[in-house]
Structure formats: C-alpha cells, structure tokens
C-alpha cells in the first residue's frame, strides 16, 4: 500500500530490493530512517557511496578490496605458491576466520549454473588460468558443497590439469546442501586437513 509521501514510498521500494527483505520489513526500515537525526542518515548515505567508489576487485585474486592488489595478495607472510579457489568473497572471510589457511585466494564470483545462465565466461576463470601459469605449486578447490559447486570443481580440475600443478579439493566433511559461508571454523579446518588429490 502506498503512503502519503512519494519520497517515503521510493525509500521503501529501494529497501524492498535488498536480499531477504520483504515489503513489511522495508517499511519498518524506512520509518526508522525517517526518525534518525539527519547527520546519521548522511553518514549512512556516504557509506553506501563510499563502498561503490572505493571498493573494487583485486586484479590478481578477484576478491573485493580497496587497494589493488589486495592486502592478502601482497602479504609477505603468506605462501604464494598455494591458491585456494572459492566462489564468493564471503567464503574468504569464513576461511580466514579459521586461521588455518596461509596461502592466497582466488574468488570465482559464483559457480556454473546453466539454470541461471551462468557459464565459464561469467566467472573469473581466465584470471585463474593466468595465475596457474606462474609458479603455483598447489591449487585447492573449495567450492560450496552443492551440485553447482561439484560440477565447477570437476570442470576446473580438468581445465587445470595441463598446467602441471597439484590440484586438491577440500574434503566433504561439510554437509551437502549447506553454504561454506555458514559452516563453523572447526569444520572448515578439518576439511582442509583432509583435502584430497584430483
């Protein structure tokens, strides 16, 4: 239902577009914004624009970053010969929380899914192949444990084979059908220990 204010309606419409936010929640959020002091709302608006202006994709690992290359890719404390391939930036956060992996990452930006029209060209696969050519010893495939992640793992392992790097996948201690993002650190740590050659 429309309110008596077109500006409020426009804000509700914007909030409704956020993932997991329904119409009712959007209304609540919009009314909350309305009640906050102007300065606070300005901060919020600035933060939104800041993200858009300053955050970009690392040209090496395709993770989100403000400096290019990102702090992980330039770190001297990490093993540069091992790359862990994940679907999304969220997965990097999850694995970093476990503190068990000290190599570099590569963020694909999703997984193969013909149903959603996502093919190899829609993922950062070419960038991964470029890196595989340059002195990498091991590539760990850490896709989400679902059918799309599985197909992507099989596709990448075949694609990477000619480069002569060791290709492993994390063990499937993680329940099928769940997202890596929601898996606890201990489970992820175990999965890394139990990785197997492909």
């Amino acid at each position: 239902m429309l309110s008596t204010s077109p500006s409020l309606d426009a804000l509700i419409a914007e909030f409704s577009r956020l993932p997991g936010i329904g119409r009712k929640t959007a209304q609540r959020l919009a009314l909350w914004v309305l009640k906050r002091p102007r300065q606070e709302v300005e901060q919020m608006a600035a933060a939104l624009l800041q993200v858009k202006d300053h955050v970009r994709t690392c040209s090496i690992c395709c993770n989100i970053t403000e400096e290019d290359p990102c702090t992980i890719c330039t770190s001297t404390k990490r093993t540069h010969s091992v790359i862990c391939v994940v679907e999304e930036s969220n997965d990097v956060f999850a694995i970093e929380r476990s503190n068990d992996f000290r190599g570099l990452y590569h963020v694909l930006g999703g997984s193969l899914s013909p149903l959603e029209g996502i093919g190899p060209d829609d993922l950062h696969i070419r960038e991964l192949l470029d890196r595989a050519k340059e002195g990498v010893e091991e590539i760990i495939l850490a896709m989400n444990p679902n059918v799309e992640g599985e197909a992507t793992t099989l596709y990448l392992s075949k694609l990477l084979k000619p480069f002569g790097v060791s290709i492993t996948r994390i063990a499937r201690g993680i329940p099928m059908g769940s997202d890596l993002e929601y898996t606890d650190a201990a489970t992820i740590a175990r999965a890394f220990e139990g990785r197997i050659a492909l």
Partner: protein, 378 residues
C-alpha cells in the same frame, strides 16, 4: 513409535481438531467427505512432510484460511518424547517445520525420524500406473532408512535440471556445452550410480518381505517377484561403474541434445512387479491389484520396522470399501501387532472387526470435520 496427541488447525474441513491417540488402533468412522482422511493426511504431513493425497500444500488449506498448522507429540520406542509442528502460510507458499521447538533448516531433515506407512486408494497407481509411481514407492522407503540416499536423490534431480538446461540451450551456448557438459556428466554419473546401487540392493532385500506378506494376505498359491528395469544398461557395482555410466551419457549425447533432455537414468527407470511370472501392471485382475498393493504396503511396514529403530505408524485409509470380508479379515489380522494403526471407514459394520480386538483400541466418529467419541454421538 507412538503418536500420542494430534492437533489439526485449518486443514481441509477441520477448524480445530484435537485427538488423543491410543497405542493400538484408532478407528475413524464417518461418511465420505466428513474429514476422516484429513486426520490421516495430517499424520502423514508430520511424518513425511507431505500428504499422500496431494503434493500441493495450498490445497490442504481450509476454505478462507490463510494458514494451517498440524502438531504431533510422539514417543519413540526408546521412550523419549518429541514434538513436531508444521505450519503452512499461503503468503509464503512454503512449510515451516519445528522439531522440539527448533526449526528444521530443510523439510528433508524430518524424513526417516518418524517413519510411517500409508495405504489408501491414492496408492493404486503403484501397481497399475506409470513408472514414476513405483519409483516414488521405493524412493520413499529407502529415503527413510538411508538419509544419504535422500540427499543423493535431491542432488541428482538438481544436477539433472542443470544438465537439461544446458542441453536445451544449444543454439545460444554451443561453446559452453562443449566445454562444461563433461563436468555435469561426471557429476551426474557419480550420483546416478550411488542411487542405482541402493535401489538394486533394496529390491534384493525387500523381495523376501514382499513374498512373506503376499503369502499372509492370500495364502501360498501365488509367487511374487520384483525386478528393477534400468534405462542405463550398466552394472552399478564395482569401482568402474561411474566411468562406465559417464561413457554411456557420452554415447547418448546426440540423442539427448536433439530431445533437449536426459533420456536415460534413475529418473526414467521402473520396477516390474511379477505375479506368477506375469507383469502385474499389464496382466493382473482388479482383485490381484488390490492384494498385491496391500502386500507391498505390509512388506513396507515390516521392512522399515526391521531397518529402523522406530516402529512405523500404519495409516489405512478407506481400505474396507475396497475389499471383501475374507481379505479384510486377513489384512486386519496382519495389521494387528504391526504397531500403532489409524484406520478410516465409512462403514459402521467395520466395528465388528474390532469387537474382539485387544485393548488399546479406540473408535471416533467424524462429521463435518468435527471429531466425537461414540458416547458423544449416542
């Protein structure tokens, strides 16, 4: 396992119904359309997440209601108590299931925890209908026993949809098919082989139960057998099976591409039910269909009972109108001692069969979605 208490809100013609269930048999009497089957459907929702009458949850909503709710309190054979609550809201269009006050992430998590066997006129297609009916029959049994099988089925269906989406998009994505189909095929092959192994083993294990049940229902005269009919002509046992299956998919590539779909696999398979070496579906009489179906269902109960920690609940919906008195007597005799049983009937004479039954039985009458004891009716 015993269902002690059942609460139904806004399912079909039930406004609010609460039933204290006996440990033995609960007989539900009522005219057609009174709401007897709805009680059994509600139990089925709690045990299997689905009604055996419809797969459309929306169709279960009471007229003008926008949500329904079913609650059950179970006691396991080991003596622990569990509460299952299922809610469906039309607006969200999906069910929410709570087990012991914690919401289940997925409906599939409930399968196998509260096992159940249902027999109703809706199950006639198992012996008389298409292959999908028989696949559902065996898939539901195996899924209750092996959760990994259910996970494989779900993954297989998803992988199949992905592969078919790719195949049906040849015009726009020829390059993508060339490069990625192999990965989908390898993935599909792994899951398909695991499903085939389980189904083959299941049929081997299940056949003696079926034979015994058939003898119980009609005597020694007739021989029954089950035969899995695979569209994928490979032996699923052995380490080479996934690779062999993968090659099979490759050989079918041109055909699959023309049809825009996957033409072989567990999703196309069937199971022959043989009565004296003849295919029941094509050649059995009406009476034979009934007895074979009953034997399959009694065998399902015994099989689940011996493979699970819990004794399944038995739901017999309107089976009396389907059977002559002799058959009926032998079915009830078989059902006795199978655990908690819920029976619906439109025929008050059915009570006679319970006249000298053991204690622990109870009869209720249902009119227009309202449940009454016999004392209240009189």
């Amino acid at each position: 396992m015993i269902l002690h208490r059942l609460r139904i809100s806004h399912v079909r013609n039930h406004g609010h119904t609460e039933i204290d269930c006996p440990e033995g048999t609960l007989l539900l009497l009522g005219e057609n359309g009174a709401g007897k089957t709805t009680v059994l459907e509600s139990i089925s929702l709690l045990c299997s997440t689905r009604s055996f009458v419809t797969h459309q949850d929306r169709g279960l909503l009471q007229k003008d209601a926008d949500a329904f709710r079913v609650e059950g309190v179970f006691t396991t054979d080991g003596g622990s108590q569990h509460e299952v609550v299922m809610e469906y809201h039309a607006e969200q269009g999906r069910k929410q299931i709570d087990l012991d006050h914690a919401s289940l992430p997925s409906a599939s998590d409930l399968i196998g925890q509260f096992p159940m066997v249902a027999l109703s006129p809706q199950h006639r297609p198992i012996t008389a209908g298409g292959p999908g009916e028989r696949r559902s029959f065996i898939d539901f049994i195996i899924s209750q026993v092996h959760h990994a099988y259910l996970m494989d089925l779900i993954a297989y269906r998803r992988t199949l949809r992905q592969r078919n989406a790719l195949l049906s998009d040849m015009d726009r994505r020829p390059e993508e098919i060339r490069t990625t189909l192999d990965a989908w095929d390898a993935s599909l092959a792994e899951t398909a082989v695991r499903i085939l192994r389980r189904r083959h083993r299941f049929i081997e294990e299940f056949t003696p139960y079926f034979q015994t049940a058939m003898q119980g229902v009609i005597g020694e005269r007739e021989q029954v057998a089950l035969q899995y009919r695979s569209t994928a002509d490979i032996d699923p046992e052995g380490d080479a099976a996934p690779a062999e299956y993968h090659r099979l998919l490759e050989r079918r590539f041109n055909l699959d591409l023309r049809r825009g779909t996957t033409t072989v696999g567990p999703h196309r398979d069937d199971m022959d039910i043989l009565l004296n070496a003849l295919d029941v579906r094509a050649q059995a009489s009406q009476g034979q269909h009934k007895t074979v179906l009953i034997a399959l269902k009694l065998a399902e109960h015994r099989y689940l009972d011996s493979h699970l920690d819990e004794t399944p609940i038995l739901l017999l919906d309107d089976v009396f109108s389907e059977l002559d008195d002799d058959r009926l007597a032998s079915v009830l005799q078989q059902a006795q001692g199978l655990g908690q049983t819920f029976i619906t009937s439109a025929n008050a004479a059915t009570l006679n069969f319970f006249a000298h039954a053991d204690n622990g039985n109870r009869t209720l009458k249902i009119e227009n979605g309202i449940v009454k004891t016999l004392a209240e009716v009189a």
